[in-house]
């Protein structure tokens, strides 16, 4: 059967093909495949449904998507690594621009705008973490932490990594798989009352083999680790590095880890202007001081600024390109490839829009809203609004153990009220009983939170 010309494939036009084959000196396109042995050629047609026109495709995909319920339709209290925040429309406009959407790896003179936008992203995030070096973003927080840890291994020449037990278990999996078999990992306990790192346990495990300690602040479990300076002091004694993972949207109100001794800071950009996209909005950053030793261990691309021959005009390029696997294959530092550049640009737009005051205000509103949620939940019989006594940011553990109900039951009840309840922690942290990790941000209204409390009451009384 002769194929219709597809809108995406202009040269399906038979006359054009003939003309081209004539230039090539072949009779058919199949001839061009003569280099592939017949025995490995696919004989049958692939079992894939036949082509849809644009309108049919649209209906088909939209029918599928209509089976979903978005977090914009229900009231959502899920966080745990992917968070629902306010996204300025300008962020979407910029990352939907055809130019940025379809650009890739052009050279500095062709893609000047891309280089500048990413350099500016690096510069803006640098202010937020108060450090001098930020990379072109990597896949996600987990990858950023895993790479940070490997950088520490190379910098110190040591093999042992200590991970706080409060690090997100899924993230730990990424870190451990990425570092093995090169590195060894050990976990440092946390205090069951406060969530804070158990410094005694740290001391016990901290020896001269330790390349780095990695902890998160605010932690996966929401609490704020206030012992940063003490931990840093202990590490300095052993010449080990301190790596801190951070939710960047907290840094308008919380001290950035560089202020309490972090050598490397990493985290996820998703809160800074990315839609959740069922986890498609993640992007990892790695920040450090302007120290040659550290910079040379980055696997990522780092864009630098270069003056042009015209005063006040700038160009951009790769700093120390020779580090990378692009330049040196397996001799490069880890590997680099397509990662999450568009989200870097978007995070830059977000920070430029928010400015110093916006970023402070949003942090403060999150703290107020989440504290209010705990206050309201605490009023419920047998429920502990926040399991840990430490202050928290955005997320907090609600302990339902005393109610006799499981998180699964409670979340099912909430779902019927059009609420996505917090993440069930009973599998990852059985020691916390029937607890769930709730997330409250600046997008939650008082009505949302009151509705949560009322719905919980209803569910618990059932």
């Amino acid at each position: 059967m002769s194929q219709k010309v597809h809108p995406y494939i202009p040269n399906m036009v038979p006359e054009v093909q003939e003309e081209m084959l004539k230039v090539i000196g072949a009779n058919t396109v199949d001839e061009l495949y003569s280099c592939i042995p017949d025995e490995i050629k696919l004989k049958e047609e692939m079992n894939i449904p036949k082509a849809l026109t644009e309108w049919e495709l649209r209906r088909h995909i939209e029918n599928s998507l209509n089976q979903n319920t978005g977090a914009n339709e229900y009231v959502n209290f899920l966080g745990a690594g992917c968070w629902q925040h306010f996204i300025p429309a300008v962020c979407d406009e910029i990352n939907q621009r055809s130019e940025f959407l379809t650009a890739y790896a052009g050279e500095p003179y062709e893609d000047h705008g891309r280089y500048q936008a990413l350099f500016e992203y690096q510069s803006l995030l640098a202010e937020l973490v108060d450090m001098d070096v930020v990379n072109v973003p990597t896949f996600d927080w987990g990858q950023a932490a895993a790479t940070s840890v490997r950088m520490a291994g190379r910098i110190t020449g040591r093999k042992k990594i200590l991970l706080a037990k409060s690090v997100a278990p899924e993230r730990s999996k990424i870190i451990v798989n990425y570092g093995s078999p090169e590195l060894e990992y050990e976990f440092v306990d946390f205090d069951l009352k406060s969530g804070l790192m158990d410094l005694e346990d740290l001391k016990a495990k901290l020896n001269h083999d330790v390349a780095a300690v990695y902890f998160e602040n605010p932690s996966y479990l929401g609490f704020i680790e206030s012992q940063g300076s003490e931990i840093s002091k202990l590490l300095k004694e052993k010449k080990a590095l301190m790596i801190v993972g951070v939710d960047p949207i907290s840094l308008g109100v919380l001290a950035p880890p560089s202020h309490y001794g972090a050598d490397i800071v990493c985290g996820d950009l998703q809160p800074l202007g990315m839609h959740m996209n069922y986890s498609g909005g993640q992007a990892g950053f790695i920040a450090a001081h302007d120290d040659e030793t550290f910079i040379n261990e980055y696997p990522s691309r780092l864009f630098g600024i270069v003056p042009t021959v015209k005063e006040g005009e700038y160009g951009f390029g790769d700093v120390a390109y020779e580090r990378t696997s692009f330049a040196h294959r397996e001799k490069g530092k880890e590997s680099v490839g397509t990662q999450t550049a568009l989200w870097g640009i978007t995070a830059g737009v977000y920070l430029a829009l928010m400015g110093p005051n916006g970023i402070k205000d949003v942090g403060q509103t999150i703290m107020q809203n989440s504290q209010y949620a705990v206050q309201e939940i605490n009023k419920l019989q047998g429920v502990k609004g926040s399991l840990f006594e430490s202050p928290f940011f955005k997320e907090f553990i609600v302990d339902f153990t005393q109610t006799g109900k499981t998180i699964e039951e409670i979340n099912q009840g909430l779902l019927e009220c059009k609420i996505f309840g917090g993440k069930d922690l009973s599998i990852e942290y059985p020691e916390l009983g029937q607890s769930a990790l709730f997330c409250v941000t600046e997008i939650h209204t008082k009505e949302d939170i009151d509705y949560l409390a009322a719905s919980l009451k209803k569910v618990l009384e059932k």
């Binding site: 396109v29 979903n68 050279e107 500016e120 640098a126 600024i305 692009f326 996505f420």
Partner: protein
């Protein structure tokens, strides 16, 4: 435009956007929210971000976008190996649906059935395309997929008690650098095979390389040269016989859809870059997806979760016995999964095969035309090219002194991308063109005409090339060591301000 650095737009007091405010009653109930934090953990001074009104922020970034040459804007065949193809606009409209954008990855399965269905359907399509049995879409780029495959190789041998013994992974020099790099990250010693004089991977060298230390073999086919290795099935057999696992870098499978598959060539695993062959956009470099497929035997090693269909419902399966765990958070880049699924459905099986055939036709057409350009050549065997070719200006350089880097700068003036190649430059003065199915003959002719023009200039008026670019958005960069000298490099604006000041005070 001559856009300043965004910090230069700072005007104290201006504001780009107002975040949602706290409700008055909440503020009354809980206070300022911040003083509960120990003082040592409070931020003392605000971050030194610029303050800029919304219109100015928008204008700045819009102008930067116009200074970026996306594939929507040019005949994008100069970035060979990257498979720059048409990004269907309908797919971009589809992913802007709030029922995609606003999904949280931990929502109850019942509320994301549509999304899971798309994952599952794409899995089914990918199985047909590759002959593999299960796919994971968690890896978010080719590099991460390669790393995941190296992780599976290690886990597999560990599981069989040969983890320490099998310490080597074999690859070829014309495969993407990430193959070697990711295997090295996973602790492997890399053995790199160089081609024979015709540019084919050398089967004798492979035979010499395999041993009881062989953990795996990773290769692209065709490689960056565009040359297809016809003995691939023998290659995989040799490795299997030695006890190794064969995994296939199909980052770029654009010439092969419906023609030949990983399965028939004897591979145990493969991956596809959805942002290459499957028409998801490159987005300045991600987010992306490296779709990872394995045979039944390796299913239990996949990163979790994968999507299953059971009892009329889609579900996330977490309990894979030997899973390597996770390589990326949650479920990968869902919007890219949706895009590629939509692209496949817009083509159907016959259309996919046309993609491959026209990509190969286009490439062979270019190949014949470029070889006629004075000073240009394509080392190794004549013909045998599929979807791309690594060319060489070696002769041009010898005869005129113009290098491939010079050509690159001059191509900018034509509004066209041109990429030299990955290091090391085994092929001298290389450039790699991949015209994909998206470009018409007219487009190809335009690109070829630009190359012809530059060749002509090289022989007749090389200065015009040496002084390029003439039409770029910026002037020539100051060619000092601003990017390689730690005293001068500046990775952020704050760094620049510090170092520039130091410089001045000297």
């Amino acid at each position: 435009w001559n856009e300043p650095i965004i910090f230069e737009l700072h005007q104290p007091g201006e504001k780009g956007v107002e975040p949602p405010p706290v409700h008055e009653e909440i503020a009354l109930a809980v206070g300022d929210g911040v003083s509960t934090v120990p003082e040592s953990m409070q931020r003392k001074s605000k971050p030194a971000l610029p303050e800029i009104g919304q219109a100015k922020v928008l204008r700045h970034y819009l102008r930067l976008s116009q200074e970026t040459l996306g594939s929507d804007f040019n005949v994008e065949i100069g970035q060979g190996t990257c498979t720059m193809k048409y990004i269907p606009k309908v797919n971009e409209m589809l992913i802007r649906n709030p029922k995609m954008m606003d999904l949280h990855p931990l929502q109850p399965e019942g509320t994301v059935q549509g999304m899971l269905e798309i994952y599952y359907n794409l899995d089914l399509c990918m199985r047909e395309i590759s002959g593999m049995d299960y796919f994971s879409f968690q890896p978010s780029g080719g590099t991460q997929a390669l790393f995941a495959m190296a992780s599976i190789v290690r886990k597999y041998h560990e599981q069989r008690g040969e983890g320490t013994q099998r310490s080597e992974i074999i690859t070829t020099i014309f495969s993407h650098p990430s193959q070697a790099a990711t295997a090295a990250v996973k602790g492997y010693k890399i053995i790199t095979l160089h081609p024979d004089e015709n540019g084919f991977p050398d089967i004798e060298k492979l035979k010499a390389a395999v041993s009881e230390r062989t953990a795996g073999f990773v290769v692209a086919n065709p490689e960056d040269t565009g040359i297809f290795n016809p003995k691939i099935k023998e290659f995989t057999k040799i490795v299997h016989d030695a006890g190794g696992i064969c995994y296939y870098d199909q980052a770029n499978a654009n010439g092969l859809l419906g023609i030949t598959r990983a399965k028939e060539a004897g591979f145990d695993m493969c991956f596809f870059n959805l942002h290459k062959t499957f028409a998801a956009p490159h987005m300045c470099g991600g987010p992306a997806t490296g779709a990872l497929g394995v045979t039944e035997a390796l299913k239990e090693y996949l990163p979790v979760p994968i999507v299953e269909y059971k009892d009329d419902k889609y579900a996330l399966k977490y309990d894979l016995e030997h899973s390597i765990g996770k390589v990326r958070a949650f479920h990968g880049v869902a919007q890219t999964v949706l895009r590629s699924y939509a692209w496949i459905r817009s083509l159907g099986p016959a259309g996919l095969k046309e993609v491959a055939k026209i990509a190969v036709l286009n490439n062979n057409y270019m190949y014949h035309r470029v070889l006629n350009i004075k000073g240009a050549g394509a080392p190794y065997v004549k013909g045998h090219r599929l979807e791309q070719v690594r060319y060489s200006w070696e002769q041009l350089t010898k005869e005129t002194g113009i290098t491939t880097e010079d050509v690159q700068l001059r191509m900018t003036d034509f509004g066209l991308h041109y990429w030299t190649s990955h290091h090391p430059y085994i092929v001298k003065q290389p450039f790699t063109l991949e015209p994909t199915e998206s470009y018409s003959k007219q487009d190809l002719d335009e690109y070829i005409a630009a190359l012809e023009q530059i060749s002509k200039e090289a022989y007749e008026n090389p200065d015009i090339i040496k002084n390029a670019p003439h039409n770029s958005t910026i002037h020539k960069m100051d060619e000092q060591d601003f990017l390689d000298n730690p005293k001068k490099w500046c990775i952020t604006w704050r760094s620049y301000l510090k170092k520039a000041k130091e410089h001045q005070s000297v």
